[in-house]
């Protein structure tokens, strides 16, 4: 057995899990900044993205090197491809956290709508949970748990639709309406983070079965 190949694969998987932890920290920070309208924390979330990017580049470089030297095949090749895709998804999830932080800084209101903030807290918790499930199922090679992400995603999608409906009913105050429009974008970011978690789940199913398929058609 090529020990060095196995060690490299283990290292890449460990790095991916670390990247997932960073993304969850960014998400929590973005939601706290939003809820407390904390511009300083929003700036920290924006700066923190550099750490995620460093992790992303490290994994990308590691994969490039491994492919050039080790010529992985079969399950090893599928694992490398799954890590490659999951790495990109995590990096995009962190970018959505940055967008939430930037939107937080863009518009401030005297008293943010409590219903929306509660909805975001719920969506954020679900997105965090989905990230955890996506990475755990990948580590455990658990395709069934990975496909379960579809149900969790449906809950975020529903909350997203509720947010849009609520914003439409916010009233005539221009400042509040502008804030509400920004919050639709925040909602969209959280919804997309959930989608990326599902995409990572699809990579787990590919790793286990050898065949790629979308969990849901049309998403």
């Amino acid at each position: 057995m090529r020990v060095t190949l196995q060690e490299e694969l283990d290292g890449l998987e460990a790095s991916l899990q670390e990247e997932g932890d960073l993304v969850k920290r960014a998400l929590r920070g973005a939601l706290n900044a939003l809820g407390q309208q904390d511009e300083e924390l929003a700036d920290e979330v924006i700066s923190f993205d550099d750490e995620v990017d460093r992790c992303y580049v490290g994994i990308e470089t590691g994969i490039q090197s491994l492919l050039a030297r080790q010529a992985p095949a079969a399950i090893d090749l599928r694992l490398v491809l799954a890590i490659l895709h999951a790495n990109l998804h995590l990096e995009r999830m962190a970018d959505y956290c940055v967008t939430i932080a930037k939107l937080t800084k863009l518009v401030r209101v005297e008293s943010p709508d409590g219903t929306l903030l509660e909805a975001f807290d719920e969506m954020g918790s679900r997105a965090e949970e989905m990230t955890t499930v996506a990475l755990r199922s990948l580590a455990d090679r658990d395709a069934e748990a990975a496909e379960g992400l579809v149900d969790l995603d449906e809950l975020i999608d529903r909350a997203n639709r509720r947010v849009v409906q609520h914003v439409l009913s916010l009233g005539a105050d221009p400042n509040l309406r502008e804030w509400g429009l920004r919050m639709i974008l925040v909602s969209r970011c959280l919804e997309r983070i959930g989608d990326h978690a599902v995409d990572i789940g699809e990579q787990t199913a590919f790793l286990v079965s050898g065949e790629f398929r979308e969990f849901t058609v049309g998403d």
């Binding site: 190949l5 095949a73 079969a74 399950i75 050898g210």
Partner: protein, 62 residues
């Protein structure tokens, strides 16, 4: 047809790939050549059906 131990060569040139191996009897005296798996080359190198093929193409034995 080529016969090779060089898997990258096989993967590059062959449309179809067969993996042959040797089974050794319990007492270790008799060695028998066996055809383990035969399929289109991409399948052999991405998702082989037999665990022995997978172990070989991933370098876990041989």
């Amino acid at each position: 047809m080529i016969v090779t131990h060089n898997m990258q060569q096989a993967a590059r040139v062959a449309d179809m790939t067969a993996f042959f191996s040797v089974e050794v009897s319990d007492e270790g005296k008799r060695r028998t050549g066996v055809l383990v798996e035969y399929d289109v080359t991409p399948t052999i190198f991405t998702k082989p059906n037999d665990r022995r093929t997978e172990d070989y193409v991933t370098g876990r034995f041989g």
